[in-house]
């Protein structure tokens, strides 16, 4: 695979290459199309977000790397609340490469961000693939912390497919913004932004009442200036 070969053109590793996760996945499946796509993609995956981080905050930080086309928040499949990841789609590929190089491990809302190149957003990927609807990785980590085994989290596919009809249940009522299904995609130079609901509101009434994670602003740090 030519693109994985070290060419020694630089004196240190480049940060704008796909993560080990993507590479391993490609090697395992012996399918490098996604990997190639991800190198020319306008989309990045952003993980390790706090569940309280809003699209506006993400916009504020990520727009420093280039103009953003749109942001798609990752949602818990069951609760339809943000679950710690999102896709940022830039207007040009420079934006995603810059974000990859510059924003990895930057702190947003107290969380150190994980960023990866992405082959491109496909509808449905905004939903968590964990057993409980959240992000698989986070659920596994939480379970491991509680002493649970990891074995139980492998059964992915079974829960998928159900979300479409479920999404429909939340439409209609005042305050819910389900499905602005604009079928107008074609005429604006192929930028079919409106094909799906970009954000489905929380169906969990307790969501807004939860307090953000504890915060220790001093941390001893500001005494050092």
């Amino acid at each position: 695979m030519e693109l994985l070969k070290e060419n020694f053109k630089n004196s240190a590793d480049r940060l704008d290459k796909p993560s080990d996760y993507l590479i391993k996945k490609a090697v395992r499946k012996q399918n490098f199309t996604d990997l190639e796509k991800s190198l020319r993609s306008r989309t990045i995956y952003v993980g390790n977000l706090s569940h309280f981080t809003t699209e506006e905050q993400i916009h504020e930080l990520f727009s420093k790397c280039g103009s953003i086309d749109r942001i798609i928040m990752g949602l818990d499949r069951n609760k339809l609340t943000p679950c710690g990841f999102c896709f940022v789609i830039y207007k040009t590929e420079d934006g995603s490469l810059n974000a990859m190089k510059f924003l990895s491990k930057t702190v947003l809302d107290g969380q150190s961000l994980a960023i990866d190149l992405d082959p491109g957003f496909i509808d449905g990927r905004q939903f968590g693939r964990g057993m409980f609807g959240g992000q698989a990785g986070q659920e596994a980590a939480a379970a491991a912390e509680n002493g649970g085994g990891r074995g139980g989290f492998r059964g992915r596919g079974g829960f998928r497919g159900g979300f479409r009809s479920r999404g429909g249940n939340f439409r209609g009522g005042r305050g819910f913004r389900g499905g602005f299904r604009g079928n107008r995609g074609g005429f604006r130079g192929g930028r079919d932004r409106g094909e799906t609901s970009v954000y489905i509101p929380s169906a969990d009434p307790t969501f807004n009442n939860q307090n953000p994670p504890p915060f220790d602003p001093m941390g001893g740090f500001n005494q050092q200036f």
């Binding site: 630089n10 004196s11 420093k64 604009g182 079928n183 970009v198 602003p217 740090f221 050092q224």
Partner: protein
Amino acid sequence: MEFNQPVKRSRDEFEEDNFQHPQDQFESEEKRQRSDPIKELINNVCKDIRKIGENSNIINQIDDVSYISNPIVAEFEKIEELRNSVLSTIYAIIIEQPQKINAFSNLILICNAKNFVVAKYVIEFLHAKAQELLDSIRNASKQSEDVDTNEENAGVFNNIKSILKFLATLSPIIENYSIINIFKQFLQLSIDLQDLTPETRSGIAQEIYYNVLISIPYILSNESENSQEKLIALIDTELVDLAKSFKIVEHKSNSLIQPFDSKLNNYELPYQPKKLIELILPAILELQAQNWSNDLFINFLELLDPIIQESLSNNEISNELIQHKLPQFKIPEPSILSKYKPHGSIDKLWYDNPRIIFQVYNLTTEFETVPSIESFQGLFFKDISSDILTNLSFNKNEASTQLSILDLFYNKNLFAPPGSSIDTLTEIHKDNVSGENETPLSTWKVEDVAVESILTMIFQLPTPLHKEIYYYTVLISCCKENPESFAPVFGRAIRLFYNNLETLDYELKIRFMDWMTTQISNFDFSWKWDEWVQDSKSLKNVKYHPKKNFIKNLIAKEIRLSNKERISESFITMNPETSEIENIKEFEQYLNIALFENESKFILDYDTELYGGKEEVQNVLEDLLTEKKQELKLKNIVGAQEEMFYNFYHSDLPLGEISQKVYDFIMAHYKPNNEFEELYEEVLTTAKESFPEINAERFLINLFFQTYAFIGSRSIYSVVSILDRDINKLKFLSGNYEKIEYAKDQNEIEFKKVELSSEQLNDRQNWIIESIFRIWINQPQVVFLILEYLIEFQILLPNYLLDKCLNLGTNLIIDNVSCMESINRILSSLNYTNGDQFKLLIVQLFKLIVNNLNELSKTLELEDAQKKEEAEEKEKEEVSDKDNELFTKVDNQWLFYEYKGLLKTYFRKFIATQTSTSEILDEIKQLFETIENVPAKEDILTWVAEV
């Protein structure tokens, strides 16, 4: 020699201390490729080469280098892939990490003793690389523009500089002092090139000249004392004497790239910026006066010589030291060079403008914490660190590590121990002065050198070489790895900029704010807020003072990255007596980030007027507002969405029923245009018939646009997708019919054409802006993002937004940094997509600013700076009407300065650095001629002369 006990930390120690593992990726790659022994060997060798110089123990370092040389010497000729990879790595290190050049030359010197072919290959390879770069100039002049504008490329001449430095370190193994010839060749070129245009500055000539001179000391770095004598003589006669004949030609003025602005000589600058080109020859002459005794480079010779001698004696082919040929270059003629327009970032910097030195440290301390810019060392470290930062942008962590350990690559006593505090340095300085220290100890701080170099890049004018966020995150990495060493260094930088906000260039103020927000957002928003309490208090009655404006917008920006609760919790300080943490109440006021002051009153007045101004409606609205406030009070955390005050469908309000219909229409899925048109007519007719006091059209625009915004209020992209769905309907509403594009393939029903007078169009466009201002009054950032999308969708015309943002009543573009950032995005994006519209907008923007300057200057006499100071001191308690007049005057004066700063920013950004706008330069000059305030006009006209 005390080589055995290194004071400095090696890179590994540095990383061990600081929990960072940037090598991880390499390891995993290594594992994958372990199957192939040759690949594995190449990987290991190249990885080792990359780390040369990072060991603080010089003995071990030389041993390591000798060890690394073995596989290279053995396999270099046999394995082509290894040879290519090693050569490629060598070149990458020279260009990207020039701080390693000295340590790295040891490898080649040792290889040469073991197998001279390796050194021959390396020298020839680098010679060919440099020649290739030179040839690219000839080719570039043949081809059209835009050959290589990759921002990772620092430029032909900057890269050649690093190659020259490296070749200079190899001087002991180069025949006939050829290295001097090469230097001389470039030096002569720079002189000839400048002489070609005796009246005009040649940026390339200055760059070549500077690059040659800054590299001279490398020639002596690996020479023993015996061999130095002859070389020094050659340097003196062939290079330094020649260098004296270079003519420095400069523009008359360069105010467009000055980091500070005296505000028409009303303020003192923190320092008078100097130019690189003027300092280099004196610095070299100073070195010459000290007989080139150089305390900069590590002296490896003592350790290197025995290894070289031993290798030579074991060498089967030759026991003599082999020297290599270094032929002169084929250099493009000055006539070709004079037409050359460089593409690389650092070359371009030289080409476009004089290189002005930005300073952060040494300004407020009694002693030097960074080498003086007038010394060779000062220029040297600026040069090295700017190369590292420019060329390592693909790995911010590596850039940060290398800058943090920069001292490691140079003489042990050059810097104070890493992490030394200012208190420690003050002690050292005291002992130096008193003679307590027999030989004075260094007070230079490697962290200061690193941070100053990064800030220099952030504050680079006219534009930074990379996206600012890259530099921010390099600084953040520095700080994360080593908070105790770096945090105080930042603190001093922040204080310097804050204390000089009155004179800091307008655009740089915005960059400062952006940097500081990003920086502290990564460290729990900690800042010593108590330092600014007094300023905030004494500036309570003015609005546009730069310090007040800075504090307000900084906090607003922090909130945008976080939330009000969290930012509020960061306003704390430690009581020095009780050691208890206390809240600072002073900054709570800035948590209200509403677009306009007294937002409740604004909302009430706005809505009452919208409904025709009747008292009973006002009462209903007032009740609703009180109710809303009560509701919000009960919550501990209020989301942006909950703060919105939207009541159109309320049954107690006029037109509630039809408003409900509009709400339901937009809420539902896409509906055909004719249904929309019917609804539109229905709203207009109902309003006109039942409520003659209401301006029906204004109500209609507000109803629709506020409802779209409200329904999409969950997030920016929900509003964007719903606006996107109904673009044509919205264009129909906004009066921008011509831009409607019907989806023919889907048989989209066309709207009936409604004839609008230009006045009606103006009104509708303005009302759209006002309606978004109104509905999102509490979230200015959202306001501007929505307006930007309305412009992108061609629903709103950008000139109307410009008018609103530069309105002298609200001065949003100055008052609210979200507004300026938004205008910048709009202009930049139009600049790429629609050049003609862009030019019209730029002219409009300049007209508006000039008009504001003229209006403001009517209200001030610029001389009374003293009165202004008095006003700033006044506390609220003693405010009389006369004082209020004074405050207004002070505010107007700052507005005047800020609009002038804004004008400079846009002139620099869109006129001075862009060839595409040169055709409107005359028009803009004429516009500037109409500025009434004479000193300001004269100052502004010098900018035009600089283009």
